[in-house]
């Protein structure tokens, strides 16, 4: 799956995007994010608090309990602050 990061999450991880295989026991976005924390110190810090993260699966806003399904692109970012 393609992962896309924005704003403070992008800075903390040090990447704007990366490709990762979904582990077979990850069903939801939350499962996948918890697994991602173990991939590096930077991921652990950036993804530490699920309640402060927002997600878009194939560019649709979803919550952490949403199923990954056949999604191609998962974006992870802090709450939006436009306008």
């Amino acid at each position: 799956m393609k992962l896309v990061y924005f704003a403070s999450v992008r800075e903390a991880i040090g990447l704007s995007s990366e490709d990762r295989d979904i582990p077979c026991d990850a069903r939801t976005i939350g499962d996948f994010v918890i697994w991602l924390r173990g991939q590096s110190q930077e991921h652990a810090v950036a993804l530490d608090d699920l309640s402060r993260l927002r997600f878009a699966l194939d560019q649709n806003m979803v919550t952490a309990d949403a199923l990954l399904g056949d999604g191609k692109e998962l974006a992870i970012f802090p709450p939006v602050t436009g306008g």
């Binding site: 704003a7 560019q59 436009g82």
Partner: protein, 146 residues
Amino acid sequence: MKKVRISNTPITTEAELSTLAGIGGGALSSFTGIVRDDGGVTAIELEHYPGMTEVCLSQLIEAATARWSLLGAVVTHRVGIVPVGDPVVVVGAASLHRAEALEATAFLIDRLKTDAPFWKREHYADGTAKWVEAKLSDDTRSERWA
């Protein structure tokens, strides 16, 4: 007439609203967000999610036109570095009479704040920068349109 525009160069309210102004309605309402000099802020930097942003803003306009009888609506948002005093966002709605345009304008900017994938970073005179935190009051304003 429905238009969404993401601009990495300066925008003006007048130019963004010019088409709506000539559309023939009796009412044109708009909101312009301007970078504030908040405690030494010199500029803000805006990042967005290309692709999703345009779709999200178009969906907001569709929702507004489904809810109110509008002749047209526009949303223009800056990205990149925007200095204090410059517009960040222009939202406009045109209708036959004022009520629809006024309410649709408030709806569009309130929902944009909570739904559209933009992120702001404040730059200060001493060269430091800080990501802006989302505000609970914005969620409250957005939810009143549910």
